[in-house]
Structure formats: C-alpha cells, structure tokens
C-alpha cells in the first residue's frame, strides 16, 4: 500500500528548485490499546482539571506557562504564542554540505523519505550527485507551524531527510584520557581485538525481531479465541576472574562455536 505524503516542499539549491514530498520513513508497529474503566469496560475520557479543586476547565481558559524557577512561571497569552509561530513557507533552505562522518548519530531524530513532486530528473540527479560526493546536506524549513533542521542524504538514489536535534541538546566529550590504572595493557588490547574479530559480522537488521511485540500479539489472538499462554523463563551464568582470563576463556568459547 502506497504511503501518503505528509508535506510538500521545494528544495532550494543555488538556482535550482526541486519539488519534494515528505513521507515518514518509520512505520509505527507499537501495539495500541484503549484505556477502559475496569468495572464496566467503558472507554475513558480525559478531562483537564484544576489540580487543587478537581474542577473541569474549559479549553478557552487554558494557558501555557514557561517555568523560570522551581515554583515560578510566566504565562504566555495566545496572541504572544501566535507571534512566535514562524511564517509559513514551502522553501527548504540548504545551508551547507558536509562529509557524512561529520554528523554523529546522536544528532538524528526522525527520518523522512523524500519523493519527487512533479518531474523526477532533478530529484534523481541530485541524489546521484550527493552519493558520488559522499556528502550530506544540512537544511532548515518550516513544516506545520514548526521550524525544523535536517540532514539530507541519498540511499540507493533516494533522498532521505532526517530531522536533527538542536545544538543545545547534543552533549559531546573532549579530552578524556583514562587514568593510568584504567589504561589497558598491550596484551589485553590484543586479546580484546581478537574477541571482537571472533564475533564480527555485517549489519543485518532483519535478524533481530521485537519478540515482546510478537508475544503480545500472540496473547491477544489467543485471548480472542478464549485461550491462554504460559511464559517460559531462562537463566544464564556469568564467569568471574581477571580481565585477561575472561578474554581468553571467551576467545576459546568463540572458537568452539565457529568450529561447531
């Protein structure tokens, strides 16, 4: 089933403008439940109430307040909030291109596939150029009354826009030198590298499944048929000993596995 576009924009690149449609790259697979009243199985309604009196508050009397201290806040009136809404625009401004390695994964928030809106020539030509250069574009735009930052990359010729976190949100480290007592010995490093090699593989995401979700669906199906499921717990052991001993024992175990 073809997905629906959530937004349309124009990628601005020098004198070029490429029409693109946004599609969520994520499919929500979470199992959704309704909240019910246990006694009569009736669905619940959510009311907004005053915390001190428990009285219902109508929508037109609700305000948003920005906390400035532990117990102090400033109310922002609807017209003031309205002024903060960025002006609507279809434009996606590309600010710069950087090597893909310049953006750490902690910046990435939510990915969207971009699809061509109108002609496909410019869309695929830009994707091809981006792949060949091995670069990622940094862009900003306004979508549904909110400002976004994003990284445009090309995967198999298709464009992906991943929204980015703000600079203030991303924490990074510099200048960490381990204390001498924590610095690994050459032989330990060698053993650890061998251990890494013994269980190295290509990234194959299809081999991992969300087993909890599968069990939950099975439970729901069984209950729909009037059955029940029993859980089967498993226990594991862990070895104790020096770091080098553990590394050696792990290597031996990994070798055995490979032979078997």
């Amino acid at each position: 089933m073809a997905a629906r576009a959530i937004w349309k924009g124009e990628l601005q690149l020098g004198k070029h403008s490429i029409g693109v449609k946004f599609y969520s790259a994520i499919e929500d697979r979470n199992v959704r439940f309704h909240l019910l009243h246990e006694k009569d199985r009736a669905p619940v309604e959510q009311h907004i109430v005053r915390k001190d009196t428990g009285e219902d508050v109508p929508k037109e009397e609700m305000r948003k307040a920005f906390a400035v201290g532990p117990n102090t806040a400033v109310i922002l009136q609807p017209e003031e909030l309205e002024q903060l809404v960025p002006p609507e625009s279809r434009e996606i401004e590309v600010l710069r291109f950087v090597p893909a390695s310049a953006i750490g994964d902690q910046w990435f928030e939510r990915p969207y596939y971009l699809g061509p809106d109108g002609g496909t020539d410019d869309y695929f030509a830009f994707g091809e150029a981006l792949s060949r250069k091995e670069m990622v574009g940094v862009a900003r735009w306004v979508m549904r009354k909110k400002r976004y930052l994003g990284a445009i990359s090309a995967v198999d010729g298709y464009l992906i826009m991943t929204t980015l976190r703000r600079a203030e949100q991303v924490v990074s480290f510099s200048g960490i030198e381990p204390a001498r007592s924590a610095t690994p010995q050459a032989n330990e490093l060698k053993l650890a590298e061998q251990l890494v090699k013994s269980i190295e593989a290509d990234f194959d995401p299809r081999q991992w499944q969300n087993e909890y979700r599968e069990r939950l669906y099975k439970l729901i199906e069984a209950k729909a048929r009037g059955e029940k499921i029993k859980p089967a717990p498993v226990k594991k052991k862990r070895a104790e000993g020096s770091l080098a001993d553990s590394l050696k024992a792990s290597l031996a175990a990994a070798r055995e596995k490979k032979v078997a």
Binding site: E38, G54, V68, V74, V155, G157, V171, L195, L216, S246
Partner: protein, 334 residues
C-alpha cells in the same frame, strides 16, 4: 505502552527533581562481552529543548489530566483502568496487568553484545535515541578496553537489553573514550522506497548530475556549523519570557502543573552526574559540553566555586580553578 508502572515514571522523576533528590541513572546493569562483564550506568545523552511549557488556567492555577468513565461520567483513578485491544472486527480484548507481565521480556540486568559490525554499515534511519554508558563500580579498566578496542577496529557492538519492561535493540559506539548506547529501530519499523510507492530509480541524466555536483561543491564544508543548529525558537521564547518577567507581567506560582505537551525526557543534571562518574572512574581531565560549544559543564570548577563560597578558601580549590581555564577555552573554540 502497556505497563502501568512505566506510565507513572515521569511524574515520579519530576517529583524528585523538584525536591532535589540525588539523580539516579535510568538503568544499571552489565555489558556482557563474551565472558567479560562490565557494570555500567545508563544516562540520557540528550538534553530536553528549552521550550517545554506547563498547563495552567487564566489565573495561573496548575492544571492536570483526569480520567472519567464515559458511561458513568465519574472520576477514575489509575487503578480503575484496564487496557483493551480492538480487533479488526471491532471486538474489545481486555489484557490484564498479569497477562502483560506474562509476556513481558524477562527481567535482566545484562546488555548482551551479539556481534561487532562496521559502524558505517548502520544506516542513520536506524538510530532512535542516544544514551551514555558510565562505568559503575570498579569496571573502569574493562570499560576503557572495550571503548579503545571499538575505536581501533572501527566497529560498533550490536546487542539487546531490557529496560522498564521493554526489550531494546542497541548499538554501542565508542565516542571520544566514552561508550554511547543508541537504541535502534527494528527492521520492520523502517519503510522502503518500494513500500512507500516511490517511482523506480531511472538513470540520472549526466549533465544534471554534473550541475548538482557543482551546487554541492559551492556549499561544501568540512564541519557542521553549530551556529546553524542552535535552537532559535527556544531563544525567542526565552527572551519573551524574560521581558515579561522583568515587567512582572503574568508571573505566577503554580504547584505541580503538568506539561502542556509530551516532551522528550532528559535533563542536564543527569549529564553533570555522568561527568562525576567519568571523572571518578576514568579521567581527571574530562570536559563535557553541549555541541553548541557554550559553557562546558566542568565539575571541578563547580566544586571549586562551591567550596570557595561555603568555607574558608582552600589552596586546592584555587589551583583547580586555574588549571581548568585552559581546556575551557579550547572547548569554546572548537
């Protein structure tokens, strides 16, 4: 999602922050790497945006959410609720707490590393949320060894772990001597151009590819510009709030108002807490900062300032303060 305990977590956390209780790690457990085990604490690596707002009424009274039964119209406590799944044919299947528990992942304190993959093979599409891992107890040496080995081999570790009743697929990545844990999406959560229904990729016209390559070159840089990535909305909002506060306009004192919108969890106190752990267990020279390269969060300096304020100034705190100046400048420039 399903567990009731999980649903209550944010409120309890907010409570602790207000009362100034010590900050806990989100999760504590052990990385198992073959037969090597590394005790670690999990801490959030993302600070919340400074745009979060509370819900109040026109007079500034705190507002909150309250469940009502749609049939009886009366107020309900959380304990009066159950969760129901609506089947395709409209039947409501109630799942009890005991049933949720029976299918919940087995409680485990292990992050089991299954394989080491080349870091550049993990597509950005998969990354969901980053956390930092801090060595717990006496694990510093094994922790440093794993970080150093991953750096040398250019690999990330793929594994899984259970937190608050959910099983997460994760990548562990070495980042400047610190281990970061990124939760990953599952393959079936990621769409493809085919499932979306994008047109088939044609052969791109060579002349246009050249034109776009030139456009890319014209804007090519080696690094990100942090200034371009700053939170302009938060800045505008804060300057508005500050000017109103100065004029004592709309300043209120709400007690326990709930967040107006769901926001991403995380707070700077936890980041500082992480530094404390790293400093104790790994290094005396660690400096942490946000990517915006503003004030680095420097615990030694904070402690020195605190010491200077509280008691008679000690020689030690003064010298610590002087030493801290150099890395701080460096952090600002980069």
């Amino acid at each position: 999602m399903p567990s009731r305990k999980r649903k209550r977590e944010p409120e309890r956390q907010a409570e602790e922050e207000r009362s100034g209780a010590p900050v806990r790690s989100l999760w504590s457990g052990t990385i198992t790497f073959g037969l090597v085990s590394i005790p670690v604490d999990l801490l959030t690596a993302v600070r919340p945006r400074r745009t979060a707002m509370k819900l109040v009424d026109t007079d500034g009274h705190a507002l909150g959410r309250q469940y009502h039964c749609s049939k009886e119209g009366k107020k309900l406590d959380y304990d009066d609720l159950v969760r129901g799944y609506e089947t395709d044919d409209g039947k409501m299947i109630v799942i009890t707490d005991q049933e949720f528990e029976s299918v919940a992942p087995e409680m485990s304190a292990d992050i089991e590393l299954r394989s080491f993959v080349p870091l550049d093979q993990v597509p950005p599409l998969y990354f969901q949320k980053p956390y930092f891992l801090a060595p717990a107890g006496k694990s510093a040496k094994a922790y440093v060894l794993l970080a150093e080995t991953m750096k040398r081999t250019g690999r990330a570790a793929i594994g899984s772990f259970v937190m608050r009743g959910h099983e997460y697929l994760v990548a562990i990545v070495a980042d400047n001597g610190v281990l970061r844990l990124d939760t990953l999406r599952y393959a079936d959560e990621i769409r493809t151009p085919e499932t979306i229904g994008l047109p088939k990729r044609p052969k791109a016209p060579a002349a246009k590819v050249t034109q776009f390559s030139k456009e890319i070159e014209a804007l090519a840089h080696k690094e990100l510009s942090v200034a371009e990535l700053e939170d302009q909305e938060a800045k505008k909002l804060q300057s508005l709030v500050e000017s109103k506060q100065k004029q004592r306009d709309d300043v209120i004192h709400p007690k326990g108002a709930e967040a107006a919108e769901e926001s991403e969890a995380g707070d700077s106190a936890k980041v500082i807490d992480l530094m404390e752990v790293l400093r104790k267990s790994l290094s005396k020279s660690a400096v942490v900062r946000t990517a915006e390269a503003s004030e680095p969060i420097d615990l030694a300096e904070r402690r020195a300032q605190r010491a200077a304020r509280s008691a008679a100034p000690k020689k030690k705190s003064a010298s610590t303060k002087a030493k801290r100046k150099a890395p701080r400048k460096r952090a600002r420039r980069s």
